[in-house]
Symmetry: C2
Subunit: 368 residues, 2 copies
Amino acid sequence: MTAVDGVQRTLQVALGERSYPIHIGTGLLGKAELLTPYLAGQQVMVVTNEAIAPLYLDKLCATLPDHLEVRTLVLPDGEQYKSIEQVSRIWDALLEAGFNRRCTLVALGGGVIGDMVGYAAAAYQRGVAFIQVPTTLLSQVDSSVGGKTGVNHPLGKNMIGAFWQPKAVLVDIDTLTTLPARELSAGLAEVIKYGLIRDTAFLDWLEVHMSALLAVAPDVIADAIAQSCQIKADIVAEDETEQGVRALLNLGHTFGHAIEAHQGYGNWLHGEAVGAGMAMAATLSQALGWISTADQARSLALIESANLPTHAPANMTSDDFLARMRLDKKNIDARLRLVLLESLGNACVSDAVPASQLKNLIDCYPRR
Amino acid sequence: MTAVDGVQRTLQVALGERSYPIHIGTGLLGKAELLTPYLAGQQVMVVTNEAIAPLYLDKLCATLPDHLEVRTLVLPDGEQYKSIEQVSRIWDALLEAGFNRRCTLVALGGGVIGDMVGYAAAAYQRGVAFIQVPTTLLSQVDSSVGGKTGVNHPLGKNMIGAFWQPKAVLVDIDTLTTLPARELSAGLAEVIKYGLIRDTAFLDWLEVHMSALLAVAPDVIADAIAQSCQIKADIVAEDETEQGVRALLNLGHTFGHAIEAHQGYGNWLHGEAVGAGMAMAATLSQALGWISTADQARSLALIESANLPTHAPANMTSDDFLARMRLDKKNIDARLRLVLLESLGNACVSDAVPASQLKNLIDCYPRR
């Protein structure tokens, strides 16, 4: 589906003077020529978490040329640490090291590290360079593309942040060999999302290759990542700051963010909540008569084949959902806006669903 | 020097799609037609401090149409509160009120309030609208123009922030009638700066009108504000993100920031530290043979005529200065960069001064 150049593929995110490459392949962590062209100056800080540091930090640092001033910072692991307090630790470390505005931050880890380091870079001295080295499937196909950075607030996910583009993204698929199965599935939720919102051929392909994806077959996973990044890059190039089409990338996320926030960040993985959220969005789209019962069933079957939940949490009422969903960033003034499926492979943003109908659907939705 | 339209003048900051007007005049706080066109939606939060709230908060809120959802937040007053913790209080209030990304923040107060509210707006849901209503001379001529927002860190001033432009700036010069004399002088430091870096005719004018400025004569102060904003707006339009000429606006600020940080924020007012810093920069420029002894003396006399210090703090060594100055955002890698005077009315950025010469000058500089 995409051209294969040995073990390495390169996409370009087209954003004018903020354009950047995404390199996907095996063994990329050891390739200095993919990192050093994107460093702004001599000062480099690699930020990672406690789970990733023992696996990949030394390898990445060994790849950086000796003449650079390299510092490292290891943060705790988990969505519950995606907070302004942890970002402040990055700022403290940068200032204690005397790093200036030509320094470069390198985010080595999953989406939490990428979002926090990106935001730390956006705000440090009003903006410094950063490079994404995502190590989870979810961050490889989603959060490392498009420049959304930020942290959670106790009252809402990703409520504080900035649009800030990386100078480059390095996706080393070797890192997936150490990824827990549950996190692999969570990443597949976003992969499935791209098919549902924009690409029925990709949906067909995913149905055929799901077992190979779950087994992390290198060629297949590289194809899935490249196709996902391409779809996201195309959408981001069209609409960098989410005035329009970019909102479609939030399929399943309005329900999903409500689940995550209610259950406590880290108890449901982001991708698991998105899986359930996409199932709820597909079910609502069918209830509105937009997609057929067969297409709704096909969507849920694909989500389940990736070992993702399609049910809502047992302890979450429709009011719990609606209270959280009212805080969603897509809303304009008092109206709830949802991403729904007009047909498989074709999503839209709608504020046409009355709150009463939405409440009714959530009340009837399967719990576990 | 600028066209007068009754009691009101309007400048435009030319930044393409981010262009915005600066309205300067008397009675502007009561003019709804200058505020409402710039509101993004129905939700408005006015943020001010404890000193300004009793004076102007009710008046501003009464100007906003009844159909809007208006909230207010009052923060403590002072540079020592320009912190990420206070910005977090703004984010907390926005989320508790359920404000979405079409809300508008209004910054009513001096530079501390303007910088914090601007930064809160830049990061809330990755960016919402804000309006500046500066109430000190310093914020009217400086911090409300140009989109620099941010907070201090214990290790450096304005180290965390964003470039984020307001939708409009309302300068009501009536607010200067309640401004303490010391803060009026602090604002005049930035006014003098514009003359020193860019406009000898303005320097001549300031020497003639200094007593009228200190007496807050309305026409004279309005002229000074308009000319200052115009010079700053021209420079910002040339160089929004400080890649070049905008750095000249930092005349006196590298020394000044070092003084503020060493003395503890709030003990020396920002403008006082800039006054002393400009005197040091002029003295260094003379020592380098760039400006004459007469021009150095003229610069210091103008600064002193505004009741500003030209001495350095008695308890601050050259090492204290240099340690803080090394953290300055203008530095590139290890080189100290300073804004100096090539001639009166013509500043430049230089990294040509050896650290030893700089240390020697600071050692010999008058203390009090």
